[in-house]
């Protein structure tokens, strides 16, 4: 390993990008997946960012000069005039001020509080988020985002390094191909591996002492800022048909805490305070009361949002009126809809991942609730069968130290294994077969691996 460069692990999520080198225990850089370019915000040109603006004439008649300020009209070095990450947020907030903003949600706040200045119309930089719902929407921006992450932040020559990227479950193969095109043709990277986030999250759970066999079978509960997914994985392959998502995640918890604060008439009920309370003080109730929490609100003293906030996963009716299925029921449903021969493994290995699962004892509470559901069902079927005894079913929810950046850590873990390089596709292979080669990757860390 002495002369080998470490692999670069990049986990680009909707909200935040995690970048670093394989073998480390935490990402080197975590910053918002945001890019600030000169000109107004919003999708101008590019693919995917809505419909391209309608020109009066086709652009080949007007010499490529459409009505939008697209890059292709520019002849100077405008294409290099952009910022990513925290710098992007600062730049888009107007030149000169440059406050340090940590989360995208705060942007909203700063526009509301400010003297009604619209960021979009301000001269300077417009902010874009190239990833929506986990999938890359604007490849132009993403390409430049990657280029800057590699050269400015990680400071590596892509030709010397192998790259491990992540993708959400059910990512269309075309997106993979686009990614490969960028990495092989623009960056000439030495090798590329694209892994599914859920599988990496499973690999990250191997650090937990509760995990005895390093299997890639399990249920991943991935709760980030925007959405919560429950993903069953069998032997390293995602069971796509059984994936369920829950429209409650980190941002909703923040809003919920904020609304609780407002209800109580607190002096400070800003989103930032709400977020701080959420991150620092919240925990789920370990002895879940059977009474609906709505009734309890009246009797509980100041600070009830501490345990009420994570409670919206278990009793969503306290927050939303359209989504009412508690998380344990969803998890149970997901496993029940998976093939029968892997269900036991899925129950046994429920892995948490993402920032919204970090609450203390969240895993224990979840395990208890799922166990209840399972035991109830076993008892009912025992009663129906008339005397037959079930051997029981083991339910285990695994929480571990690396949960916050689970997929990144899993990538770091797998990226440092000696066989990682042989699993990557190289540029030569790419040129031989074309972009479709990245539709298939050998399973990293699967059976046969170490």
């Amino acid at each position: 390993m002495a002369n080998q460069t470490p692999a670069v692990v990049m986990d680009n999520g909707t909200g935040f990008s995690k970048l670093g080198f394989a073998g480390n225990d935490s990402p080197s850089f975590v910053f918002p997946t945001a890019i600030a370019t000169k000109g107004p915000a919003g999708g101008s040109g590019g693919t995917g960012s809505g419909r391209p603006a309608v020109a009066n004439k086709p652009s080949f008649l007007t010499g490529g000069a459409g009505p939008t300020g697209h890059l292709s009209m520019k002849r100077g070095t405008e294409d290099l005039d952009f910022f990513i990450g925290d710098e992007a947020l600062a730049a888009s907030n107007g030149p000169g001020i440059a406050p340090r903003i940590l989360t995208p949600t705060l942007i909203v706040r700063s526009t509301q509080d400010g003297p009604s200045v619209d960021i979009c119309t301000r001269p300077g930089y417009g902010l874009h988020y190239p990833i929506r719902h986990g999938q890359v929407e604007n490849w132009d921006h993403m390409e430049r985002f990657w280029s800057n992450s590699i050269f400015k932040y990680l400071r590596v020559e892509p030709e010397d390094h192998h790259f491990l990227l992540t993708e959400p479950p059910l990512n269309p193969p075309e997106n993979r191909e686009n990614t490969a095109e960028i990495f092989f043709e623009s960056f000439n990277c030495a090798g590329l591996y694209i892994a599914v986030q859920a599988v990496l999250a499973l690999a990250a759970s191997w650090t937990s002492t509760k995990v005895t066999d390093r299997s890639l079978t399990g249920t991943v509960i991935d709760s980030g800022d925007g959405v919560t997914h429950v993903i069953p994985v069998a032997e390293g392959y995602v069971i796509g048909s059984s994936i369920k998502s829950i429209p409650i995640a980190g941002r909703d918890i923040t809003y919920f805490v904020q609304s609780l604060l407002r209800d109580r008439g607190e002096a400070d009920s800003s989103l930032k305070t709400a977020q701080e309370i959420k991150e620092e003080h919240c925990y789920p109730v370990s002895q879940a009361p059977r009474v609906p929490p709505r009734g309890r609100q009246v009797t509980v003293d100041v600070g009830y949002e501490r345990f009420l906030a994570p409670e919206i996963f278990f009793n969503p009716e306290i927050y939303s009126s359209d989504f009412l299925t508690p998380l344990p029921v969803v998890v149970d449903g997901v496993i029940q809809s998976s093939p029968i021969d892997v269900r036991r493994g899925l129950y046994k290995n429920i892995v948490l991942s993402g920032g919204s699962t970090l609450y203390k004892d969240f895993g224990r509470r979840l395990q208890r609730d799922i166990k209840h559901l399972v035991d109830d069902r076993i008892r009912a079927s025992e009663a129906r069968s008339g005397g037959a005894k079930s051997g029981g079913l083991e339910v285990q929810v695994i929480s571990h130290k690396r949960q916050r950046h689970g997929p990144w850590f899993g990538g770091s873990l797998l990226g440092q294994t000696p066989e990682f390089r042989s699993y990557c596709h190289t540029k030569a292979e790419y040129q031989e077969y074309g972009p479709s080669i990245v539709r298939r990757f050998a399973l990293l860390g699967g059976p046969g691996g170490s």
């Binding site: 002495a2 460069t5 470490p6 080198f21 073998g23 480390n24 225990d25 935490s26 080197s28 850089f29 040109g45 590019g46 693919t47 391209p52 309608v54 020109a55 086709p58 652009s59 080949f60 490529g64 459409g66 697209h70 890059l71 292709s72 070095t77 294409d79 290099l80 952009f82 490849w139 132009d140 390409e143 430049r144 280029s147 800057n148 050269f151 400015k152 932040y153 990680l154 400071r155 590596v156 020559e157 892509p158 030709e159 010397d160 390094h161 960028i182 043709e185 623009s186 960056f187 000439n188």
Partner: protein, 319 residues
């Protein structure tokens, strides 16, 4: 971002966070920099002592040209015996920091420039050699100068990558820096040529102060007889020569010039990649435009044959 930074952003951010008085924490990170340089930031004994180690491929050569002295000068009291597997280490004690905030920032800056400083040695060596030769040459007219003064110093080779090297040679009126570059990709070679041509032309067109740049595919005369310089094969290797004139060689400009010239290769490759990204962006745009044209060319209401289940067709009368 037109120019690349010289400092390592990660070291900078880690140290800034640590120095700001945050509670001490365990650090253990291995990070890369350009040209196969590896850093290891760790807290081996206590959480308040941060060890930053550097591993660089050509350290032996650098030492030969005085890297140890340069680093000693820059880091002085912080230098510790190198960690095993690394070439150079410095240890910072958080309990023993300079009290002044500016001094602390200065220290962060210095440490994040570790790679730059290590690589700076041969250039500084060349500078001092140039001064010496200049001094010596001023005693003669150009014809009668002894061989040694006219020819200049020996060529210093730094094999900073597997197949690429920097050669530095000082003489009494100039310092010549030669990069050997290699391109694996046909397209990159084309981009590279265009870029280099820009460099060559820049001086002719607008920027008279720029150093002279030459590009050729066979080893320049300066490198004749230097071990390790192979005859060109297949046009893959190119030699980029920078000639630094006395105006660049003043002691005041030295740090800037050294930083700039060191990042040349990375800058070069970064811009090749950035221009590819730009071209891709235009290609995507054009495709989107063509698709739009296709969409517009589609007839408004396409005549579709409608059939019943049994296969009979209808035609609207009078249409």
């Amino acid at each position: 971002m037109l120019l690349l930074d010289y400092q390592n952003v990660l070291i900078q951010s880690v140290l800034t966070e640590r120095f700001s008085g945050a509670p001490p924490a365990h650090i253990d990170q291995t990070v890369s920099d350009f040209d196969g340089v590896t850093f290891h930031i760790s807290t081996p004994e206590t959480k308040t002592q941060i060890l930053v180690s550097l591993q660089i491929r050509c350290f032996k050569e650098l030492v030969q040209y005085g890297a140890q002295e340069v680093l000693q000068r820059e880091y002085g009291q912080y230098v510790v015996p190198p960690e095993t597997g690394y070439d150079f280490s410095i240890l910072v004690d958080l309990e023993n920091l300079p009290a002044d905030k500016e001094e602390r920032d200065e220290l962060i800056k210095k440490i994040s420039l570790l790679k730059r400083n290590a690589m700076a040695a041969p250039f500084e060596h060349a500078y001092s050699e140039h001064y010496k030769l200049k001094e010596a040459a001023s005693k003669y007219t150009s014809e009668e100068a002894p061989q040694g003064v006219r020819e200049g110093g020996e060529v210093m080779a730094i094999h900073y990558r597997d197949e690429e090297a920097i050669y530095v040679k000082a003489s009494h009126d100039r310092v010549t820096v030669i990069f050997s570059t290699i391109f694996r990709e046909e397209t990159d070679r084309v981009f590279g040529k265009v870029f280099i041509q820009e460099f060559v032309d820049a001086r002719r067109r607008a920027i008279q102060n720029a150093p002279q740049v030459l590009f050729r595919n066979d080893p320049p005369l300066e490198l004749q007889g230097v071990p390790g310089v192979r005859e060109t094969y297949g046009g893959e290797v190119g030699y980029v020569t920078f000639v630094l004139f006395p105006r660049h060689l003043t002691p005041q400009r030295m740090p800037d010039v050294i930083s700039h010239i060191q990042t040349f290769r990375d800058y070069f490759h970064y811009h090749i990649k950035a221009s590819k990204a730009y071209i891709h962006s235009r290609m995507r745009r054009r495709t989107a435009d063509f698709l739009q044209v296709l969409r517009r060319a589609r007839p408004e209401n396409e005549e579709k044959e409608r059939k019943t289940a049994s296969g009979r067709t209808f035609r609207v009368q009078g249409a």
